[in-house]
């Protein structure tokens, strides 16, 4: 029963997260830029993350993103035995979300593609559901992009929630995390579509393989599919360790003598 609760919580959170994200891509692509532009996609994923966090509760991101869940296991915050329930919940959530967005845009997909669902070409639509690297990208560059973007995601989540330092007001952290994801999309999204989350990428990819796009979804982009699983996980760990190092330096000087005497003083320009 515990496991079911965990699974369902992650399921609902990622379902909401991914429905908002994927549907905004669909509207931009299938609407031929008349119903939104690239900014809409960045806003859609940001709003999805904010709502997903409100739905899933608890530690921001941990319930929505397998890379962050695994990081918690490695750090000892979460027993490894609980990992499968979280990840299965997330994967069910985003698979269901992909199916829902497919149903939502079933008519538009057929009108746009004439029934020919492809991964590449002028009416490619697979990128509505999962990420693909841009044509100019090398594999190491793509891997680094996902690694870096996820490291920035974790750094952002940690500072937004850092109550000892200068975190965001309690109850507004989900909003700030959405703004963080908006920022990642604005600046780190062009190379690879910013998966930054295995749970956001793999299940919709599997869905497209089944729903008519075929095995191209796994071979495209030099077999890109495994990168959004591994690079974000390493990036998540890197983000946590960078934060640890900088925070450890912070905490070395006693508050009465160090940097804090300046930063904690009454604001008095």
């Amino acid at each position: 029963l515990l496991t079911m609760g965990t699974l369902e919580s992650s399921h609902l959170g990622d379902f909401i997260n991914i429905v908002f994200g994927l549907s905004s891509v669909a509207q931009v692509v299938l609407g031929r830029q008349n119903f939104g532009q690239h900014l809409s996609i960045n806003l859609g994923f940001g709003i999805g993350v904010t709502l997903g966090i409100h739905a899933a509760g608890g530690i921001s991101g941990a319930h929505l993103n397998a890379a962050i869940t695994i990081t918690h296991c490695i750090l000892g915050n979460l027993p490894w035995t609980k990992l499968p329930a979280y990840v299965i919940g997330q994967f069910l959530g985003s698979f269901t979300a992909a199916a829902t967005v497919f149903g939502l845009y079933y008519d538009a997909l057929h009108e746009y593609t004439k029934g020919n669902f492809t991964v590449t070409g002028p009416t490619a639509t697979a990128s509505i559901f999962s990420t693909y690297p841009s044509p100019y990208m090398s594999l190491p560059g793509s891997f680094f992009t996902e690694f870096l973007a996820t490291a920035m995601l974790l750094l952002g989540i940690l500072i937004i929630h850092d109550e000892k330092n200068n975190g965001a007001l309690k109850g507004t952290q989900a909003l700030l995390t959405g703004i963080l994801v908006l920022g990642i999309g604005l600046g780190m999204g062009m190379n690879t579509g910013y998966a930054i989350n295995p749970s956001r990428d793999l299940p919709p990819r599997i869905f497209t393989a089944i729903a008519g796009w075929g095995t191209d979804v796994f071979t495209a982009g030099h077999h890109w599919w495994w990168v959004p699983l591994t690079a974000p996980t390493l990036g998540s760990l890197a983000g946590v360790f960078i934060h640890k190092i900088f925070i450890d330096f912070h905490n070395l000087p006693p508050p009465a003598m160090g940097r804090d005497t300046f930063t904690r003083s009454k604001y008095s320009i």
Copy 2:
């Protein structure tokens, strides 16, 4: 007198909500994309909802959206005898709003249409006031779109206000609900114009029938007009039941043993 208070509260809330929404559509359509693009419409409806909730008070959405009011009646939160006062208030509010936006853009409408108010064609303007499905849409697809978008609306409202789980900071929920509606417009708006609210759609449609667009507003889109009344009501109910199911699973494990020991623990990466 009670009824008058209820009616007036819903009236003011939906008047504000719909004036902001419809006027932003008018500005984009009549301004030929020079005074805003599709994003402006999504922002306009989001801001309208935020302000409408601040005006109408109480349970977010219940005073602005007949589908949500009916859901409250079905769930026993509101006596059926009060339903008419709410719905009449909402309908008066959005009818008045449509008339106000018509007055606001009277000059621009005549300049844009040369006085020929039509539902379809290159200078169609009926969609400023009420929703119509896109040409590529089937009726089942359109029905499903409104059903799904309203289910997502309810899911969003419920998680934003869920103080037991991870809701938004009190006093910021109206803002978050506006952001939710922005997200629905970004991702679920292309197919049918996201009515997601009978009170937003029918009264402005009646207004256009009277004000010069004629009975086409009821026959267009395969007699589309009844779908924004029924699909959102079913979607609202579905959203509540999905939330109930997932929340019930959540609450099964006692807090000391279950998922909550993880999620409630001090944030400690």
Copy 3:
């Protein structure tokens, strides 16, 4: 000295408000849409209002907008003897702001206009500083637009600050008021440029008359200049009275019996 304090407070608030607003118009016009689009202007004025309220303090809008200051005098909230200090402060603030934005974009203005500052024509730039009606507008329509937009502004301000009903979280009201002004620009800005404030419009107009645009700034648009002084003042009064009427209806039923038993009940779908 009291008067000086009042004057300076309004001066600083409107200086900030108008510098952000006018400079965003300048950037869109002089940048030929490459450095922002219409949405930028709407965002610029919204952010200006938020910052202006933080600067001027006290009752939102009262220190930034002569129409609202006059409304306070008529309602007996502010002695008429104090009106001049507020209005002079506001006018000095927005005049200084116009001069500042003129200085900021001096090089760009000359590059764009070849030194020929005009109110109309392909390189018209007077609308960077003050508002002009669109060519298709009639004078009654323009007057109604400013009347309505200001009435909506007041309605919005009053509901955002209504702590008895469902106002915004204290300390976030300036942000919400900026979002309100963003919404007005998105939906009610095309006809007349949404002056909605005599203090925002007349002093920059006087500045342009002096700085090289000549007396055309007063004759253009059928002598439009007096409308942003009168229509917002009447609209502000109308907004307050509409709010009073709807709020009075609200407060008639005693809380234990009326609408409030529903709206104040625990949120419990």
Copy 4:
């Protein structure tokens, strides 16, 4: 050790700040406007500042912007002996950020420029990293732009944090400061790219000199490079003094008699 803590705190804050900012410029430039428009850049820098403040903690801006740090030293809020640690931390942060964004867009840069990194011309890319004045700008005009924009930045920061007057809700000030920077970009960014911060501009410029753009980055724009160091510092001081003057006038009348009796009265239209 104290110095290391200070240095690392500023390092992390500006690293985050500048990665979000520069990467959003890169995405717009290298993506040929298909992955964002000018607004994306304004949003990217705004989000970067918000996150940078959450990371660096303490007095907003002091840890991210050498102009503000120097202002604190001049005002006696910070000992001059601590200045080097702050500035070195900021410079390391933004240098590292420039290198990171260079790595992130290494493939895209080569595809866009065919390996020819230039400061001017049709495929100029130096402006991804540091600022350059627009071709139409005179040097005095450019200097004034950076001076004014930074003065507005400081005015904004001070009023957002002014708890005695009408500041923003505690815990939301980082968000408001990001919105302030968004507003500066919307209205004061076209002339010179709104450096408004020596720490944001010089280290990425040095990076580009090393990484392949050559010494042109220092000679371009009439040796523009020194202006983002000096003009923001003077502007920061000016902003503080303007605030002091207006606040001093405010505080002269005793609260019981002066302007405050109006502004502090219960909100009661």
